[in-house]
Symmetry: C2
Subunit: 348 residues, 2 copies
């Protein structure tokens, strides 16, 4: 089969690899119908996160179960399924608590060496019963819906995790740092959780326009100290109850802390990279600002978010603004790296 | 009257100052019956937190109301009262939310220039109605109880804040970094909130013995990586659900993060000082560890904690192991600085 592999920074290829296959009794093989490129894939693409030479890449996909191991009982060949970006056994202590990203048998497609990646024709799914979520079969015929459902694999659940970490409650003022797909999904999630006011920080009009469509009530185009000042002006000097941080750089974290209201929280889901962490401890301390987040246990959130995606209440599909086939994946990376594409949909 | 003043690092004096007096209509003057020296006073004493020359010091006290301004209605001369370590108006948006430390009219005894300090014969209390809490008059005759009640001014409420920030719940495994008075009060608070297991980190036998008396089930004497390994061994490799950080250094914060269980939280109340913050963002991110805390709004906690102190369920009074009069305050600082005293009680 064909799959995307990363050989060195910026050297990404689509090449022939051994077919995905059942290796353990709990495995399933999923033929990919939709995959996509994540902002966090860019860190590997740019060499900021180490990867082995030729390592697979891509961790967001949905598709049809093609084969299952003898111990799999939750999904059957032919089922339409979505995979969260990490696999998990579904039965360990952490999975039982909903923290599937800390599963004792868990792993991360493309990140765990030896694993398959989602930007491919097919994927071997370990612990299929714990990992995969079955979708209604008729969704396969609805192109828009299928694209929306794909966001359950990462960006929608990650935006939701940030909103939960930030403590978004009905009536809250929320600020969202980052106008990428996760930030935009954070806007959707904040609105869904009842935020009264949602301030989106971003400078790309196409993205901030989308943020408004998704529920943002205000847009702040400034950066750094000017952004902090702008949000403070919008909030009577107090800052936002809940801040969603969806970038992961020192500057974005510093901005997030700077615009949080005393007693508020920063819900962070931007993969940390770079040298500093941007956390001003004096500010956090004096203002009792909580910092809460991390890698999102999206498997846990899928059952909660799925009904809203199915009935159209929640439609993140507009975050995709470029579609490629498998051969077009390298072009997709280049477009996202250059920020000419917001998020790339892959139809193998 | 006489009050403690700080003139330069290690140059602490007890000297004649103008009498505490009502200056604003909402003020009260409190004659100090009990005060004490806080671990955080040492940062000012050592010059690690800047202070003006001759600035007052001390922020923990209880006493008897001597005089009130015309707008004070909540307390009357003769009332026995305890003051939290910050004053607050009790009516602003933040006070209404319980975040009295972010009060729009708030301040910090000894820290806000021009304010009185608690290590003195008397203290001017701004916003007396919002700030002071009346205690039963007969407590004045009970030396042990009076000392226990004094901890409501800071250390008990601060330990409680850390436990709340760390998310202590019934059945939780809690680890406490710091064997000072706040850490020990964190042990008490964790036990009160239903912790099943409490691991106290500390090397001073007298302090860790007290931690056991307060409810600690295990003691870890190691530091740094060895402490992390020891706590992991005690918790089946997982770490503690809730970590109370009561020191404020880079090393203590790093230890706190290192011993937290995935999905857990660090409740931090150690005043941050030093260059680094000890937060390993990759660890926090991968394990979804929350960092939540700050300057404790102890005014808000007093009504909740007071009944348990009055009925003896909660008795932090053993944290005091040295008693001085006002003239003995400089000796008290020296003893705490040298760690020969755990916490110094001042009877002016």
């Amino acid at each position: 089969m064909r799959a995307t592999t990363l050989h060195a920074p910026h050297d990404i290829r689509v090449e022939e690899v051994p077919d995905a296959a059942v290796r353990e009794p709990g495995d399933a093989v999923v033929r990919v119908l939709r995959a996509c490129i994540c902002g966090s894939d860019l860190w590997a693409y740019r060499g900021e996160i180490p990867r082995e030479r030729g390592q697979r890449i891509g961790h967001e996909f949905l598709g049809v179960v093609e084969e299952t191991g003898p111990e799999v009982s939750g999904v059957r060949p032919g089922d339409l399924v979505v995979a969260p970006f990490t696999w998990s056994d579904g039965v360990c202590e952490f999975c039982a608590e909903g923290l599937t990203t800390s599963c004792e048998h868990g792993g991360f497609w493309g990140g765990t060496p030896g694993s398959d990646g989602g930007q491919a024709e097919a994927v071997r799914v370990p612990y299929a019963d714990g990992t995969l979520v079955t979708l209604p079969a008729d969704a396969a015929g609805d192109d828009r819906l299928l694209t929306a459902l794909l966001t359950l694999s990462d960006v929608l659940g990650t935006g939701h995790h940030a909103a939960v970490g930030a403590g978004v409650r009905p009536g809250a003022t929320v600020a969202v740092v980052g106008d990428g797909a996760v930030g935009l999904c954070g806007v959707l999630a904040a609105k869904r959780l009842g935020a009264e006011r949602i301030i989106a920080l971003g400078r790309h009009t196409a993205r901030t326009d989308l943020a408004r469509t998704f529920g943002a009530t205000d847009v702040v185009a400034e950066r750094g100290d000017a952004a902090v000042a702008a949000v403070r002006e919008l909030t009577g000097g107090r800052g936002a109850h809940a801040v969603i941080e969806a970038v992961g750089t020192e500057q974005s974290m510093a901005t997030a802390v700077g615009i949080a209201r005393p007693g508020g929280a920063v819900g962070w889901v931007g993969v940390p990279h770079g040298s500093g962490n941007g956390l001003n401890m004096e500010t956090l301390f004096q203002n009792n600002i909580a910092v809460r987040g991390g890698v999102a246990p999206v498997r846990t959130y899928i059952p909660e978010l799925l009904p809203d995606v199915l009935d159209g209440t929640l439609d993140p599909s507009p975050v995709f603004d470029l579609t490629v086939d498998l051969d077009g994946v390298p072009d997709g990376y280049r477009a996202m790296d250059a920020r000419t594409a917001l998020k790339v949909l892959v139809k193998p």
